[in-house]
């Protein structure tokens, strides 16, 4: 996929004419990272908006005790650090590559100029930011109303279907997504295996009863 095709397919830039896209695309530059590379830190100034070409990024907050809570994973086509770049303030969370990563990036100043020149992009941004709010509300709901087994079930379901991105998760990463500790994820996986909802096959978690897993996650089937 060319850079122009990538930008054209992104929700921020849908509806732009070819001439408008041609003006916007040169403002994007490329960046790569390895698994474990820090891309940005919570509390630092927001200078760049990132778009994932390939790979996966975790966006997370760290407690005073050093425990991580993953807010969301960003997969190909997705963007991160949207909120402070679109508005004011510093980075609300940190971001780290959890696979080898290829990114496009655009400077905040350039992005704001695009907003001003092309109102369509500002309207699109409202949709993108609304989606983030929707996802954050879903996370609060899961953390508040579901038990650990339900939250781990949700993590498995959300990360099972998309097999093209090469994403693999450690128990620590699952714990950080489910708002719990690693030990409880291990216990939860063993419980699900005993109940024949999943099968642990070396480095694979195989979901053998998707309906039961969805029920555990509080999802309607």
């Amino acid at each position: 996929m060319t850079k122009t095709d990538f930008v054209k397919a992104n929700p921020y830039f849908s509806g732009l004419s070819t001439a408008e896209l041609n003006a916007v695309v040169p403002l994007f530059f490329e960046k790569t990272a390895e698994r474990g590379d820090m891309l940005l830190l919570e509390g630092e100034p927001s200078r760049v908006l990132y778009f994932v070409i390939s790979g996966v990024v975790k966006v997370y907050k760290t407690s005073a005790e050093g425990r991580d809570q993953i807010l969301y994973l960003v997969r190909p086509g997705g963007s991160f650090i949207d909120v402070p770049v679109s508005g004011e303030g510093t980075n609300l969370a940190s971001a780290e590559a959890i696979t080898p990563l290829s990114l496009y990036a655009i400077k905040k100043d350039d992005f704001i100029k695009i907003f001003q020149i092309y109102p369509q992009v500002a309207r699109n941004a409202v949709n993108v930011l609304s989606r983030i709010v929707y996802d954050m509300v879903a996370l609060v709901e899961a953390l508040s109303f579901h038990d650990v087994n339900g939250r781990v079930a949700r993590v498995l379901l959300e990360n099972a279907e998309d097999t093209g991105h090469g994403l693999r998760l450690t128990q620590q990463e699952m714990a950080a997504m489910a708002g719990t500790v690693r030990e409880l994820v291990g216990r939860s996986l063993r419980t699900m295996e005993t109940e024949k909802i999943i099968r642990l096959d070396h480095h694979r978690i195989i979901i053998t009863n998707k309906k039961a897993l969805q029920s555990l996650a509080g999802q309607e089937t």
């Binding site: 474990g36 693999r168 070396h202 480095h203 978690i205 195989i206 979901i207």
Partner: protein, 67 residues
Amino acid sequence: MGEFPVINKKKCNGCGLCVDICTCHGLIMVGSVVEIVPTVECDWCTKCEAICPAGAISCSYEIIIEG
């Protein structure tokens, strides 16, 4: 040979706790960092990952829906 835990040598502090806990002798200290010894005995118990105080060992999972 199959899959093995991944060691981040930049993070490894050479404490050796993972070597002690590994029941299949799949880890060994080489100088001040740990190395994988490929073995079919590794059953992905993930104890090495759990005990590592530096977060230097990853035992990651693919998540697959059957059928």
